[in-house]
């Protein structure tokens, strides 16, 4: 049944359905409403969980780490500066192969301080060994959040569910929260055979020297690569159960014979879906919604891009001194193709700059323009004197 819900509230309810044992809460805009809603659910007795209101994001991730190691399903949420503060712990959690789930309400990173949406935060930690899934809209966010626990527990890898801050978290729309019994069928209780238990004492988090470190990293990389099939399978199962797909590894929409492709992640995809449906454009283009950023699904990407002459990669973050992050990664992923499309990389909507419907046709012109990576919605006039 559809309800009008703010994105954050919906995520809170979705996570609650997953029966987390421990939730760590620390506020940061624009994620705060998630933890606030969870707190209200706990206070009203609608969610039985140990809610630990910690004193920093570092501790939030640490609480999740400890809880997971002790055998409880653990969850937390953060954004931007908080994600950076907990970076050490994120590496630790994946290195220890703990199935923690975290919602990243994507936000720009200071300085200068900016509380609005782009993908700088999750991009900055793309190497931390977590699975990273991006959500195009709030329903996908709900479904992905639930799937995240199953993926994590099956792969013994932590999952970061990325959803655009403000744009998704603070938007009210009609959403479906699956019933508890549906979720219970989908998500069995968490059983962790390495859990901290005096009856079977193990030491977790030991020191590994040069003798074994390479092998450890090999296994971590392999695990992430192998997670692509789990991501596909869990989405398929979900679809069977609810009738909805959350996007698998990626989706391709638009005219079959289009030679231009536009690849994007997150909420801009739903804007572009609307544009694809409602705007008449001279040029035809496919819309590729990349859901799984880590692991980066090379094979699926190559299949999706087969036959394209041009691919416009839309970045929501940039690496100063290099260019678009997603763009760089896509170039690397497609470089094995016999006929690789020409890749055009632009960044838009940094720091929350609005991405209107009109951005779609603008993007379709990019292949004909010269130039390497640039911020497409830059307003050069603003580079002069501020009035």
């Amino acid at each position: 049944m559809l309800e009008a819900l703010e994105g954050s509230a919906a995520i809170a309810r979705a996570v609650a359905r997953c029966r987390p044992g421990v939730v760590a809460a620390y506020p940061i805009t624009p994620q705060t409403h998630i933890v606030e809603n969870i707190s209200k659910l706990v206070a009203d007795g609608k969610l039985q969980t140990e809610l630990v209101s910690v004193e920093s994001e570092f501790s939030a991730a640490s609480v999740a780490l400890g809880a997971s190691a002790a055998g409880s399903r653990a969850y937390t949420a953060s954004s931007s500066q908080g994600i950076l503060l907990m970076t050490e712990v994120l590496f630790n959690i994946s290195g220890m192969r703990l199935p923690v789930v975290l919602t990243c309400a994507n936000r720009a990173i200071g300085a200068p301080i900016n509380i609005w949406n782009d993908h700088s935060d999750s991009m900055a930690v793309r190497d931390c060994g977590w699975i990273q899934l991006h959500c195009a809209d709030n329903q996908e966010a709900i479904d992905t959040s639930i799937q995240a626990f199953r993926i994590a527990e099956a792969t013994e890898l932590p999952v970061m569910v990325c959803m655009d801050g403000f744009i998704l978290t603070h938007t009210l729309e009609p959403l479906e929260i699956p019933d508890q019994d549906v979720v219970d069928r989908y998500l069995p209780p968490f059983r962790f055979d390495r859990m901290l238990d005096p009856k079977n004492p193990l030491s977790l988090g030991t020191l590994v020297g040069p003798e074994y470190f390479s092998e450890t990293r090999h296994l971590a990389h392999q695990a992430l690569m192998a997670a692509t099939s789990t991501i596909v399978d869990t989405d398929r199962e979900w679809q069977t159960l609810t009738g909805r797909s959350a996007g698998g590894l990626l989706t391709v929409e638009g005219p079959e014979n289009a030679k231009i492709g536009v690849l994007a992640m997150g909420s801009v995809v739903s804007t572009f879906r609307e544009a694809l449906d409602t705007l008449k454009t001279r040029k035809k283009a496919k819309l590729i919604n990349l859901r799984a950023f880590r692991p980066l699904p090379d094979q699926a990407l190559r299949e999706a891009c087969a036959g394209l002459s041009d691919l416009v990669v839309v970045d929501r973050a940039l690496s100063p001194g290099f260019g678009g992050i997603l763009g760089g990664e896509i170039k690397a992923a497609l470089s094995g193709m016999a006929k690789m499309p020409r890749i055009h990389n632009v960044a838009i909507g940094l720091g929350g700059r609005d991405v209107p419907l009109e951005m779609w046709p603008r993007l379709l012109d990019v292949p004909t323009e010269d130039g390497g990576f640039r911020i497409l919605d830059l307003e050069p006039a603003k580079l002069g004197e501020v009035p």
Partner: protein
């Protein structure tokens, strides 16, 4: 690893929470403290450990010296991961006790925030800080716990400086301000007292804290065989008072009966060698300062008194040869 039934190691009348084969230096005070703490706490515990000497010398994969479940994450988050473990146990209805451990670096400095948060949230966790008064694992750098005038690699004495300029952070007062049910200082030189304090803390359902003075032969500049002697003098001179605090108030102290000048303690340690250079007037000044700090402790905690036996706050653990008859 299983042991044969006739192996005397398997039949020791105490719980071997920390096993042999760890790689601590000879005479390591921290290893001894950890052994004493885990044996008093018993097998039904879950330990968390900050990065540091203890963590490194006990768990070079695939070996571990711990016989209880143990979790290490980072330098600054022992208290935070312990909070998570405790919350999970609550969620699952399990009653094992969580003990968070860290060195002084991971407790006084980088882990301070996590500790404060854990205490404020009243998690049922015993936090044990093994205080060897510097960042030893990284090669003896000063921490907030390093005593005034001590030499470390980042507070070396020289023409302009006489060792660490700042005072040893009064962590117990800060812990006391959190109004937790029980906090205490202890020393490896008084093992029975330490064991008693561990058991006391274990019984309490709520946040508790132990600060255990643990000499580091390498870092303090003394022989591995002198660890207990040095620790004992720290207590007897008043520089490291053994106290118990309940809800922030001093509930008991280990009384001293004789005045032992701080020089007796300082002269045994290479890290205070620069305080014994007669030709340097600053050396005398620093010795006097340290004596004044010890006197201040004695006054503040009322260490001189007709209290119980000065060798142990509560009953003998080692030898009693003489003294008033006991029941």
């Amino acid at each position: 690893m299983t042991q044969a039934n006739n192996d005397p190691r398997a039949r020791q009348p105490r719980f071997r929470g920390l096993e042999a084969g760890h790689r601590a230096c000879q005479g390591c005070g921290e290893a001894l403290a950890a052994r004493l703490v885990t044996e008093s706490a018993g097998p039904d515990v879950i330990l968390t450990n900050a990065t540091g000497c203890l963590e490194v010398f006990t768990t070079p994969w695939p070996q571990s010296a711990w016989r209880v479940p143990w979790l290490h994450s980072l330098f600054e988050n022992s208290a935070a991961i312990a909070s998570g473990v405790e919350a999970a146990l609550k969620a699952q209805g399990r009653r094992s006790k969580v003990i968070a451990m860290g060195g002084d670096g991971g407790t006084f400095d980088i882990g301070f925030q996590a500790l404060s948060g854990m205490l404020e949230r009243m998690h049922n966790v015993l936090y044990v800080c093994y205080d060897n008064e510097a960042y030893m694992n990284t090669g003896i750098q000063r921490s907030g716990s390093t005593p005034h005038a001590a030499m470390t690699t980042t507070s070396p004495p020289g023409k302009e400086r006489m060792g660490k300029r700042h005072l040893k952070k009064d962590l117990l007062s800060i812990i006391a301000a959190h109004h937790i049910p029980y906090a205490a200082s202890a020393s490896v030189a008084y093992p029975q007292d330490l064991r008693r304090k561990v058991r006391r803390a274990m019984e309490i359902d709520g946040p508790t804290f132990l600060l255990v003075h643990s000499p580091c032969p390498l870092g303090w500049g003394h022989d591995g065989s002198e660890t207990i002697q040095v620790a004992r003098l720290a207590v007897q001179t008043g520089l490291f008072p053994l106290v118990e605090l309940e809800r922030g108030e001093v509930a008991s102290v280990m009384p001293l009966r004789q005045k032992v000048p701080v020089t007796e303690y300082l002269k045994l340690q290479g890290r205070f060698r620069h305080l014994f250079v007669d030709s340097d007037h600053r050396a005398r000044e620093e010795r006097e300062h340290l004596q004044a700090l010890a006197d201040y402790n004695m006054e503040r905690y009322g260490l001189f008194g007709d209290g119980d036996d000065p060798f142990d706050a509560d009953g003998a653990d080692t030898v009693r040869r003489g003294g008033p008859a006991r029941a």
